[in-house]
């Protein structure tokens, strides 16, 4: 075998090793992300269950848990950001992503229900936004709407934003959509029970928030 042919074969081997190492590294990182997301979901699941159990034990809402509930919502929002990033990396059809999204949606629904119970029993007035989106290419404004809600949540930490993939195959979510009478015209928002469809500007969303119900971290612009 000539030196050139030998070198060509060795180069092929080196290329395969480099490409393989890179693919393995990226895959390893993605697996680590999934594991972390799964761990966060498990923890949140336990926290949610703990809160629900407190309800059952006391046979009424434990009003000293309002702070815990707020923390839970905030952690849920962080989980949502991570999940969105992972979905972007792995693709919306990745079975692990879909599974994580189902669990996430269930956690959101449970957190929303707890928030409502706490509000009713303890007289708090939380501002909740249910946001329904689609990533199947039929919602041009969903990206912008997601960004706007992230900004609002960042500006008003007390704002409770719950985002749901409208097309996710999950029985509880479908019931949730029906109960809240959400139509398929996306993006859709339900702000404290009021329905909005299509892209809604920051100003319009802020107008709906009850006056004085939200404190800001920074001056809204």
């Amino acid at each position: 075998m000539s030196i050139v042919a030998r070198n060509a074969l060795i180069a092929l081997g080196i290329t395969a090793v480099i490409a393989g190492t890179v693919m393995y590294t990226v895959s390893y990182l993605n697996r680590a992300r999934i594991t972390e997301l799964s761990a966060i979901e498990n923890q949140l699941s336990i926290d949610t269950l703990s809160l629900e159990t407190q309800f059952s034990l006391l046979e009424s809402a434990p009003c000293d848990s309002v702070a815990s509930s707020t923390t839970l919502t905030s952690e849920l929002a962080d989980l949502g950001d991570r999940l969105a990033y992972t979905e972007n990396q792995l693709g919306k059809n990745d079975t692990r992503v879909i599974q994580l999204k189902r669990q996430y949606s269930l956690l959101e629904i449970r957190d929303y229900l707890i928030t409502k119970k706490l509000a009713a029993a303890c007289g708090t007035k939380p501002v909740t936004v249910l946001y329904f989106y689609s990533n199947t290419g039929d919602c041009n404004d969903c990206d912008r709407a997601g960004y706007a809600l992230s900004y609002l949540h960042n500006t008003y930490p007390a704002l409770r934003v719950y985002s749901f993939d409208y097309n996710l195959d999950l029985g509880a979510l479908k019931t949730f959509i029906t109960v809240n009478k959400v139509q398929g015209d996306l993006p859709a928002f339900v702000v404290n029970g009021k329905h909005l469809y299509g892209f809604t500007s920051l100003e319009d969303l802020e107008k709906i928030f009850p006056k004085g119900a939200l404190s800001t971290t920074t001056a809204p612009q």
């Binding site: 060795i10 080196i14 480099i18 890179v22 693919m23 590294t25 990226v26 990396q89 990206d143």
Partner: protein, 410 residues
């Protein structure tokens, strides 16, 4: 894994990676290693250096003086200065050297560089080796002469670098030329060169009798001659420590003109006159690897440019849309760093590996040729500029070749 538009660039990345791996293995192979050992042979055959001049009034005197200062027996070195119908003061400048015993001066009507080179060859009857200089200053002739000791060598190339780079484009070229030094060294070790660059290349005098003189060759006479040498089954070597300094175009329009001339010259020669070299089994390195890859590089450069434009527009529109949605301060606000959001993807990792490789090749080129100057800043400029400017001359060249547009020299 998400199969987005990135998939489009995977084939390009993998081919580039393979090519770089091949370079690495060949660089470490015996033939290349042997060529890096300094020759101890001290043969001093008669050498003639031909300097074709066209409107070089500001540089020609310095060039001649640097040639006369070359460390080589004076009785064995002659210079032939050819004024190719200059319209400035070049004739009077070169006439100042007319009485020098080592120098022959010739004035002729303007007929193009290749005609000046051919007249020079006819006047270099006593020379065993003939060199052509189209640069500011060479600083080693002995290394070139020693490289001819290898059997079958018809021509020798040297290590070119940019002389005192000043502008951004010259600095970019400095880094590019450093890379080319290594590439030329590696390809020469397996006889894969298809151009003996004009600035400072040498030929055995006998080959002109065997395969003919220089031709117009779409204004790429150095490339055409190299392809003719390869077609004749001879070899083109490289003297990595033989440095030569060239000014390099200082502005983008000048650089564009030069590169369009080079690229159209390559495409026209290989596609019209030397198509038989593609896939040629007599020289598999050239026919199966180097030349197809050179054509592929043109296609890849253009394709990746359009991919870059697509991505820029997509991201640009997305950013504009976001700016209309949320305040700018939020869009560019600092987010806490965690490993989770590390932007590590297959294209970014492989792209980084490729860039690192390129940087190492540049450092090696500079180190092995002992080229003076600082590389780091010039590499940064190269990375920032090359991907934007190179596609411009690639697109224009392909268009010119496809449409049959005539390419100007300057």
């Amino acid at each position: 894994m998400a199969w987005g538009p990135d998939v489009y660039i995977y084939p390009f990345i993998f081919v580039a990676l393979y090519f770089e791996s091949f370079l690495l293995v060949t660089f470490l192979s015996k033939p290349a290693r042997a060529r890096r050992i300094k020759s101890t042979k001290l043969s001093t055959p008669n050498v003639a250096i031909i300097v074709p001049c066209w409107n070089e009034e500001t540089t020609i005197a310095g060039t001649v003086e640097s040639l006369l200062a070359l460390e080589y027996p004076k009785e064995k070195l002659s210079l032939i200065l050819i004024n190719d119908g200059s319209t400035d003061a070049t004739p009077s400048v070169i006439d100042r050297f007319a009485e020098h015993p080592q120098i022959t001066t010739i004035h002729k009507e303007n007929g193009g560089k290749f005609t000046a080179m051919n007249i020079g060859i006819e006047h270099a009857k006593d020379a065993e080796l003939i060199g052509f200089l189209d640069a500011v200053a060479p600083d080693s002739l002995r290394e070139v002469v020693a490289a001819f000791d290898e059997p079958g060598i018809a021509a020798i190339t040297s290590s070119m670098s940019i002389h005192k780079p000043q502008t951004l484009f010259q600095r970019m070229q400095y880094a590019e030329y450093s890379l080319s030094i290594t590439l030329r060294h590696v390809f020469a070790s397996i006889n894969g060169l298809y151009v003996a660059p004009g600035p400072f290349s040498f030929y055995r005098r006998t080959i002109f009798a065997d395969i003919g003189m220089f031709k117009h060759a779409y204004l790429a006479e150095d490339m055409e001659m190299a392809m003719r040498i390869q077609r004749a089954g001879m070899s083109i070597g490289n003297a990595i420590r033989a440095r030569v300094y060239t000014k390099g175009p200082s502005t983008f329009p000048k650089l564009l003109t030069q590169r369009i001339r080079w690229t159209t010259g390559f495409l026209r020669n290989i596609l019209f006159d030397y198509r038989d070299l593609l896939g040629n089994k007599k020289n598999k390195v050239l026919g199966i690897l180097v030349l197809p890859f050179a054509i592929y590089a043109v296609i890849a450069g253009i394709s990746l440019f359009f991919y870059g434009i697509y991505q820029t527009i997509t991201h640009g529109l997305h950013t504009v849309s976001m700016i209309q949605t949320v305040p700018l301060s939020y869009l560019f606000s600092w987010h806490p760093f965690t490993w989770f959001y590390l932007p590590i993807t297959i294209p970014t990792l492989l792209g980084a590996a490729l860039m690192l490789n390129v940087f190492i090749w540049m450092m090696l080129g500079k180190h092995l040729s002992k080229t003076p100057g600082k590389l780091a800043l010039n590499v940064v400029i190269f990375i920032a500029l090359y991907g934007i400017v190179a596609p411009v001359w690639l697109i224009r060249s392909v268009s010119d070749v496809a449409l049959g547009t005539r390419t100007p020299w300057r």
